[in-house]
């Protein structure tokens, strides 16, 4: 075998080794975080109490975070109901109609994506809390909606821009109005990307603490009323982890585990949606 070939093989395996090694290094912290969350969270999260009861004073057994799970669901739900339709329509509009307004929206979305979430929280405080003189789940939901909006806009834009022009032209050539072609033909074709974007935005909103600190604020009691202050899983983690009490710290780990599990479910759901949609979108 010629020497050059041996040399080539050696470099190749060296390079491959380096790639695998570095990938492993990158995965270590991720694995550690997951491992810690599971190990520390399981003791709390294996009690039924944890999912059906609300917080209790330190030392009293049977505490749970049901109010925070429901609070997170309500706030993220309202946020999605606001941000997803709005974001999808503006994302489609960016591609299909363009123009000056579209450029302004694109710039605003880019700025908003990069904005620190605590700043978004403050902004929401000024708009939705201060005028009403009290914290509320609604204010928290709107803060999360502001957080989600630019993500939904940009992922929708990306997904719609990938649809070949031929599809649009075929629709228009049938005498259909532009907006109907955009919303009823192009958007469904882009659905896998759009839905994934929306789900990822939801996942991000569900994990955020900062925008809720002075909007949803937190609440130790059960409530489903969005005009009242409302708890959320990240808020439980944030508050309880800072206390010196082991039982509350355990509760924080448990809440973190529930959050991670929710992310996993959302991610799996988005994959499933994409796979299902691709059956029809096929070879577009």
């Amino acid at each position: 075998m010629p020497a050059r070939n041996v040399w080539r093989r050696a470099t190749s395996s060296l390079a491959r080794g380096a790639v695998y090694g570095l990938t492993a290094v990158a995965l270590i912290p991720l694995g550690l975080v997951l491992w810690h969350t599971v190990v520390n969270g399981l003791p709390a999260a294996t009690h039924v109490d944890f999912f059906v009861n609300v917080e209790r004073p330190v030392g009293i057994p049977g505490a749970g975070v049901a109010h925070a799970i429901v609070g997170s669901a309500i706030m993220v739900g309202i946020a999605s109901a606001v941000a997803v339709p709005l974001g999808v329509v503006s994302g489609v509009n960016l591609v299909e109609f363009g123009g000056g307004l579209a450029r302004a929206v694109r710039l605003a979305a880019d700025v908003l994506v990069g904005a620190p979430s605590i700043a978004i929280g403050l902004f929401a405080y000024v708009l939705f809390v201060a005028p009403f003189h009290h914290f509320s789940g609604m204010a928290g939901a709107l803060a999360l909606a502001i957080l989600m909006l630019p993500v939904v806009i940009r992922t929708t834009e990306g997904a719609v821009a990938l649809i070949p022009a031929g599809l649009r032209e075929s629709g228009l050539a049938l005498g259909l109005p532009r907006w109907r072609v955009a919303l009823q033909l192009v958007l469904p074709a882009a659905a896998p990307g759009v839905i994934t974007g929306a789900l990822l935005a939801m996942a991000r909103a569900a994990g955020e603490t900062a925008p809720l600190l002075f909007t949803g604020f937190g609440n130790r009691f059960w409530t489903v009323d969005p005009t009242q202050p409302m708890s959320a899983l990240p808020l439980i983690v944030f508050h309880d982890a800072l206390t010196p009490y082991p039982s509350l710290q355990q509760q924080a780990w448990g809440a973190a585990l529930v959050l991670v599990a929710a992310m996993l479910v959302i991610n799996l759901a988005s994959r499933w949606v994409v796979r299902r949609q691709q059956r029809f979108a096929g070879q577009l």
């Binding site: 075929s170 629709g171 050539a173 049938l174 005498g175 259909l176 029809f280 096929g282 070879q283």
Partner: protein, 280 residues
């Protein structure tokens, strides 16, 4: 003026007389007059004047880049999608000028288009055909009737009638092109524009589409752009030959005549050179 164009109206001869009921003289469906076209500031078409007869197949041939697709896209105003593109002159369609009409949606329904590459909608075969009729607000009985009628007219019905619910992407290239035709027929057009509809198909699928075109020309006016001169000779009644004017870099109409005349006794030297393969 109108006398002149009547004088120029070609003697029509059917390509496949056995498939045509009567090959008589027909009305002009589209009357193109001094049509010029600009993409922003570059001129793509210059002073085209000719008439496209009703219920006949008109072929447009010419070398690449001479403006055949551009011309076709004037007829259903698809060029509106290109920013700063504009047409000058007129194309009369049943007395209304296509270039200036404001009833775009109605125009595109009446003048349908089949593209070179079929774009199946990401839905079932049935929904592909039913899509436009549904959006137009037709009742479900009428939509159902339109689906069956269009698929039959597009010679696709027998192949798909048992799997109307399957995804359209499961069809072959030739079937997809016939699905595009069915989709277009569903909204009851009068004119069908086809831009190289067979260029991606094998000879058998091509032959099927050609038969279909001849069949459809009983009821519809068909304008087809093709690079395949045998195809133009086989299916069309009239042929327009276009060429890029080298001095001005824009497309011109060189000759428009009944197909057999254009291919057998071309009047223009350039036509003869092109069809005998001496350039282009």
């Amino acid at each position: 003026m109108s006398d002149l164009s009547a004088f120029r109206q070609p003697v029509v001869q059917a390509a496949r007389p056995e498939l045509r009921a009567v090959a008589g003289i027909s009305q002009n469906k589209l009357r193109i007059k001094e049509l010029s076209f600009y993409y922003d500031r570059t001129r793509a078409l210059k002073d085209l004047t000719f008439d496209i007869p009703e219920r006949r197949i008109t072929a447009i041939i010419g070398p690449s880049g001479c403006g055949k697709s551009t011309l076709l896209r004037v007829f259903n105003r698809m060029y509106d999608l290109v920013p700063r593109a504009r047409a000058q002159g007129s194309v009369l369609f049943e007395g209304e000028d296509i270039v200036t009409t404001r009833r775009l949606l109605e125009l595109r329904q009446r003048i349908g288009m089949v593209f070179q590459r079929p774009s199946p909608f990401p839905m079932s075969i049935r929904d592909n055909v039913a899509f436009a009729p549904r959006l137009l607000g037709w009742g479900s009985a009428r939509v159902k009737e339109a689906v069956a009628r269009s698929l039959q007219a597009a010679a696709l019905w027998d192949e798909v009638k048992d799997r109307l619910g399957d995804s359209a992407t499961s069809l072959s290239g030739g079937q997809l092109q016939r699905l595009s035709i069915a989709r277009c027929l569903a909204v009851n057009p009068e004119v069908i524009l086809m831009d190289e509809p067979c260029s991606a198909l094998d000879p058998i699928a091509t032959l099927k589409i050609e038969d279909l075109m001849v069949e459809l020309a009983r009821d519809y006016t068909i304008v087809i752009v093709t690079h395949n001169m045998q195809q133009a000779a086989r299916v069309s009644d009239n042929t327009a030959f276009m060429l890029m004017n080298q001095a001005e870099r824009c497309g011109e109409l060189i000759e428009f005549a009944p197909t057999h005349e254009l291919f057998n006794q071309p009047r223009d030297r350039r036509t003869e050179d092109y069809i005998t393969g001496r350039f282009g």
